[in-house]
Symmetry: C2
């Protein structure tokens, strides 16, 4: 991993990568080991551990691999990957090898068989711990997290749900007002 | 509502207000009619209707009103409200009248008893349709949505979970790449 610029990121802080609500890529390796990925915008942190809720339904090809292998990686793309990320969300692993088509590089993860994505800013290896079928809700537990500190572009992007996306702007520091949740500052 | 600049926003598109993952304010009116609000960053769209999942636990004073009244409003603040929003998240309705303390204006909603917030960009009136206690997950269904088109500041902000916040930057239009989900473009 090191040659790709990744270092391990504290698991107890990995929720901070997802809390801002960026568009993410979910990678899976199916039972035969074939890699796939999908674009996901409907997700939320549920607990600091981190526990993450993701809406993924049977209409997503990823659903099958996720159900069978109970593993995935949440990869966080930055803005130079926005075109690919949108296109990845508009085709299916049923008939497309997305890593090949979009020239993205799978890296071996440590605790799951699903691959990290070398071009992303961060990757969180996750296990499926529950599924609430009624709501197409997969509940994931992050088991290992990676960040690429050497990546210059750090701006993630957020789906507006209408084909437009908002890119991260300036960061504002309000740590002095966070009197209640001081352990994560 | 009109004198405050709000117009009704299509309910079928209200998910687009929340999908980018902004920090939101959740208002409630308890059984005695007393208004309160909390700051929420852990939420996700779950369905276009819109169905919204929110992590709100017994440690939040809002949890009680939400459980008893099964109603709330999700209000979306913009960046000029960032200080207030953080401070609202660092005190409790148990001992603070937040509307009064933070000089925010409650407006009467149409379908719920919880108030809209006049100073926010948008407000979504919601009913609690389910609660998955194991995960402190409230499942809401939006029943009415409002937007203030006259508000000049439209930039929302996103929690990084460490006391810093990222403000909306530029918007990128990738509608021509959205070949799969064309009904919302």
């Amino acid at each position: 991993m090191k040659d790709k610029g990744f270092r391990e990121f504290e698991l107890s802080r990995a929720f901070q990568l997802l809390e801002p609500g960026p568009v993410v890529l979910v990678t899976t390796a199916d039972a035969s080991g074939k890699n796939n990925m999908m674009t996901l915008t409907w997700h939320t942190v549920m607990e600091f551990t981190p526990r993450i809720g993701c809406i993924i339904g049977p209409w997503d090809h990823t659903c099958e691999a996720l159900t069978k292998t109970k593993e995935c990686v949440l990869a966080i793309p930055t803005v130079e990957l926005i075109d690919k990320t949108v296109e990845i969300g508009n085709c299916s692993g049923r008939d497309t090898d997305k890593f090949e088509t979009f020239h993205l590089t799978p890296l071996k993860a440590k605790k799951v068989h699903a691959p990290l994505i070398a071009e992303c800013l961060a990757n969180i290896e996750c296990k499926v711990v529950d599924r609430i079928k009624k709501y197409d809700l997969f509940i994931l537990e992050g088991v290992k997290a990676w960040i690429n500190d050497k990546k210059k572009e750090k701006r993630t992007f957020h789906a507006n749900g209408d084909g437009t996306f908002v890119v991260d702007g300036k960061t504002m520091n309000l740590k002095d007002k966070m009197t209640k949740w001081t352990e994560y500052i």
